[in-house]
């Protein structure tokens, strides 16, 4: 038995909402719950240390600045980047948009951007947007019926591509992409590579120094952190070279009527008062994850994932999206004859919180033949095997009713 299995009761007690009787939260791919330590940290900062960062000379302004930059350090360490490579954003979506606008200066009419059919809307629409702005061509790599990236098609499409963007883990199919290998291929073709890590960083060790990527993006709220904080990791040289699409206070050294000099990276990309309390909260979340151990989380969730597939994946009339193994601990499925929303509504009645619909990945679901979307149960390390049992029981009841 691993660390989490042994301590699951204590771990669950760290999360206020999980103690609610009869409540089973299976929607962590949408957003995670938050441990007390994260909430307490933010509350403490507001009560004791609140001042605007960066420009104050008085005591609490200095302390909050230090705490803010320490949070950047904590988060950079978590993915093995350097502090100057961590740009704070609102969420994954903003990170991708920002990277796309930053890359515009490197792209010219007719250049090719490649993403895949596996993507969340947030890793598709921004590329489409800049393609339209600058007259670029956007192509989508196909996926197999198991929602794996079609590698033959990938090889073909990345040839001469200027930007290649894909997800680390699919939020619908649970596919875990071999980012190390595929990013290397794209990089070898000379493309800028962006990886959407929204569903990866909460669940597995990510080491950007070991990946051939220019950008790696993720959201704080999916990994025990507060809302309103996301990360854009960018390679230092590239960040230094690229122009900031958004400008304003805090990101400049000097401003005159007819000239200015940008601040150093990463601040150059953070105009205006940052969500410093959000960053500090996310750093606390990272510390909590490190205390549990990201390897422990990965191991435990692997078991959860297998158990989920074995016990829910085989319910009569149920069809799920994605591969048969090596998947994230989530299952998006449809049940014959019942609309996905009705499945979710039924489960809600049983106290089980799941999500239903397109999960912001409509093209993928349409491709896989889920024409009404799916219902999705997604787990985190605070979930248990017995919660999966309860999900199964409820679904079987439902199947018997309809």
């Amino acid at each position: 038995m691993g660390y989490i299995e042994k301590n699951i009761k204590d771990i669950r007690e760290d999360f206020p909402i999980l103690s609610r009787p009869g409540f089973i939260y299976l929607d962590s791919a949408a957003t995670s719950q938050k441990p007390f330590v994260v909430l307490e940290k933010m509350d403490w900062v507001y009560k004791n240390l609140n001042a605007n960062v960066h420009r104050g000379i008085y005591k609490i302004a200095e302390d909050i600045t230090e705490e803010y930059e320490r949070s950047r350090k904590e988060i950079s360490g978590f993915i093995n980047a350097s502090e100057s490579e961590i740009v704070f954003t609102r969420n994954t979506t903003e990170s991708i948009n920002l990277a796309a606008y930053m890359l515009l200066q490197k792209l010219k009419r007719g250049d090719r951007i490649v993403t895949t059919l596996l993507e969340h809307h947030s890793n598709f629409l921004p590329w489409k947007k800049i393609a339209k702005i600058a007259g670029l061509n956007l192509e989508l790599v196909k996926v197999t019926s198991e929602a794996l990236i079609d590698e033959e098609d990938f090889e073909k499409k990345i040839e001469n591509a200027k930007v290649v963007a894909f997800t680390h883990v699919s939020n619908v199919a649970g596919t875990i992409v071999d980012v190390k290998r595929l990013a290397r291929k794209a990089k070898e073709r000379g493309a800028f590579v962006l990886i959407d890590g929204a569903q990866a960083t909460p669940h597995m060790k990510v080491d950007v120094s070991n990946l051939a990527v220019d950008f790696y993006v993720f959201s704080g709220h999916k990994m025990l952190g507060p809302t309103g904080i996301g990360v854009l990791y960018g390679k230092k040289d590239l960040l230094e070279e690229l122009e900031p699409p958004f400008t304003g206070g805090e990101m400049v050294k000097e401003v005159h009527k007819d000239g200015q000099s940008w601040n150093d990276v990463p601040w150059k990309f953070e105009p205006g008062t940052p969500n410093y309390v959000g960053s500090i909260g996310l750093a606390e979340a990272v510390r909590y994850i490190k205390k549990i151990g990201i390897d422990q989380i990965e191991t435990y969730e692997k078991k959860l994932s297998e158990y989920l597939l074995e016990n829910v994946g085989n319910i009569k009339g149920l069809r799920y999206a994605g591969p048969k193994n090596n998947r994230a601990a989530l299952l998006a499925f449809e049940i014959k004859g019942v609309h996905p929303h009705d499945v979710a509504a039924y489960l809600d009645m049983k106290g089980i919180a799941v999500r239903s619909g397109w999960h912001c990945a409509q093209p993928l679901q349409e491709e896989l033949g889920f024409s009404n979307g799916t219902t999705r149960a997604s787990l985190y390390f605070y979930n248990t095997f017995s919660e999966i049992d309860k999900l199964r029981t409820a679904l079987e009841e439902l199947v018997n009713i309809v």
Binding site: H339, P340, H341, D342, A345, Y346, D348, M349, S356, G357, W358, Q362, S371, N372, G373
Partner: protein, 128 residues
């Protein structure tokens, strides 16, 4: 108790009334609900400012489909003025649902919205 078992909902869901596109119609309107992707399209044949025939197409959860089906039944034969007065609340009453969360209420609101848009676009075309 969830709406899931309301008899009316399941009845209309499983046996929708006025489903399908009529052979001829004077106005049509379709929209979808971003929250859940439910979509509804409505076709209306109008005579002397009365709904002569109404049909719907659509795809969605039991609640939105049942609402669309029930609504077509309720407004069939009504004057356009009366049809414009129908509300989510009326449909919920008829279906026997007391309360709905903000996301679910959109499932009931969608057909109502689509109906109104279809009628309004007809009226404004007449007037111009």
């Amino acid at each position: 108790m969830s709406y899931f078992f309301y008899e009316n909902v399941m009845d209309h869901y499983k046996n929708p009334r006025n489903k399908g596109k009529p052979d001829s119609y004077d106005t049509e309107y379709g929209d979808s609900n971003p929250t859940c992707g439910d979509n509804v399209k409505i076709y209306i044949k109008i005579e002397a400012n009365r709904i002569k025939k109404i049909g719907f197409e659509g795809n969605g959860c039991a609640l939105s489909m049942a609402s669309a089906s029930l609504m077509t039944e309720m407004v069939d034969g009504e004057s356009l003025d009366n049809a414009l007065k129908i509300s989510e609340k009326d449909l919920m009453n008829e279906l026997g649902i007391k309360e709905l969360g903000p996301n679910r209420i959109k499932c009931v609101a969608l057909p109502v919205k689509v109906l109104k848009m279809a009628i309004i676009s007809y009226i404004s075309k007449q007037n111009s």
